[in-house]
Amino acid sequence: MTGESRDSVGALAASVQRGEVTAVEVAEATLRRIDAKDPELHAYLTRAGETLLEQARAVDAKRAKGVPLGPLAGVPVALKDTLSTRGVRTTSGSKILEHYVPAYDAAVVERLLAADALLPGKTNLDEFAMGSSTEHGAFGPTKNPHDTTRSPGGSSGGSAVSVAAGMTPAALGSDTGGSIRQPAAFTGVVGLKPSYGRVSRYGLIAFASSLDQIGPFASDVRGAARLLGVIAGRDPHDATSRDEPVPDYEAACGESVQGLRLGVPEEYFGAGLDGEVDASVRAAISELERGGCTVKPVRLPHTDYAVATYYVIATAEASSNLARFDGVRYGLRVEASSLAEMYGKTRDQGFGDEVKRRILLGTFVLSAGYYDAYYLKAQKVRTLIRRDFEAAFAEVDAIVSPTAPTPAFRLGEKTGDPLAMYLNDVYTLPASLAGIPGLSVPVGPTKAGLPIGLQILTPPFREDLALRVGAAVEARNSTL
């Protein structure tokens, strides 16, 4: 192990723990890889230099003193730029936060550092995580390493590309309606959105608080499992984080899938599904069946209403969360003679078009005369969508589907049509609304070499089951 190759999370941590490679060597190699690859791909908004080397030196010093190293010893983990990092610029992809330097670390950042991880930089995203293509950021698009004319998906596109291009073996993203799973599918890596409440959001720049969840990307399923084990668990600073036990997720990856009942929802295989995605996902499901799983159809009858439900609830919450960006306490300020004018000008110049569109839509659905017809209605339909999953999980252990209806689309292909962009998230939004975990694992590729993702959904706090099925799919991939 030299730190130069595409080592997995587990292999790299083991070689740092054994002293076969130092954390400083890994850090330097990581910066070289980012310098070599990122000018073309633009996965990073901020590349750490000295702070990364300080982290690495601390890990090496700990080992020299004979202190046992943590589970992510010397593992570089890229961070989506929605995660607050003390002393390191955090933009959320927005001009309004272009020069913002947080005074504290997000809870997940503290946990990664406590596990002896290295943090090489902050990755690109759609502004405030609002988008599905990493084209809506203020600082330019990220490109898909499998075809640089295509989007890596979004909004956590930079984190996905950091892993897909081998710049880091792992990364963290955030997923509000598919923002980890869809870019994982588009770039051919593993991505996991944990259950709502599984991971503390303290220090995550909020988009939609009843949906946002932080989760890992990794080059393999076990890597994602190890990261989840580090970041999961109750945090008193996030009242929505749950005090559920954190199982050994990596051990779950080694368990047999024999006898597991898998549900296949017909609503996720309908019109709009690309033929190659369909074939590839069905082939993977057949392999799981040959591996001892029972496969049966399930119904999720309100799937067709998920996009509309999501875009009411998420925009309503965003309009409220983004009220904090007012030019007073941090971020951009456009001076004006009155307070109201200062607010208005700051927000007009600081926010991009997609963010403004969502703030306006969210304010509209919450406004007098429209609240019941839009917002309250969407909250009721959200209940129906949750009940769909509860009924399905009474019959099966996990649900398997495509992660996205198509492989990666071209850069610019959907930016002119917001609704077409939203509809691309049709298979990932329902799990976000229901608060259940969703794992995307690669199953492709297409004839043109584009990755395809299989999505595995399980009941709340059963990430272990999703990882177990994901590891079985991965094992099948490696034998092909």
Partner: protein
């Protein structure tokens, strides 16, 4: 349901403290109407007896009410675009006779 026209965009923008440029108002009216028409499909569903999902958190115990370390005064002000008298500085919003300004 309602199509979002120019006047509605301007009203909502005011509620959201966004001052839009004139060309932005027309584009937003068009795009938001398109999205609102799509969202209106929720009206197809009978939800008369369905309770709304307002939270997925369930009942959570609050943390103990104990004083713990927090940001220092300097740290809290460190990102402010403008400070004065150890606080956040904003444009005048009360006129000298004490009435609320704009």
């Amino acid at each position: 349901m309602t199509v979002i026209d120019r006047a509605r965009v301007l009203h909502v923008a005011k509620l959201a403290s966004l001052s839009l440029r004139d060309d932005e108002v027309d584009a937003m009216a068009r795009e938001l109407s398109h999205i609102a028409e799509y969202v209106a499909k929720l009206g197809e569903l009978d939800t008369k007896d369905v309770p709304p999902t307002t939270s997925l958190s369930g009942t959570q115990a609050l943390r103990p009410d104990e004083v713990e370390a927090c940001l220092t005064h300097e740290e809290a002000l460190s990102g402010a675009p403008r400070t004065a008298a150890e606080g956040f500085a904003v444009p005048l919003f009360l006129d000298p006779r004490g009435r609320a300004g704009t």
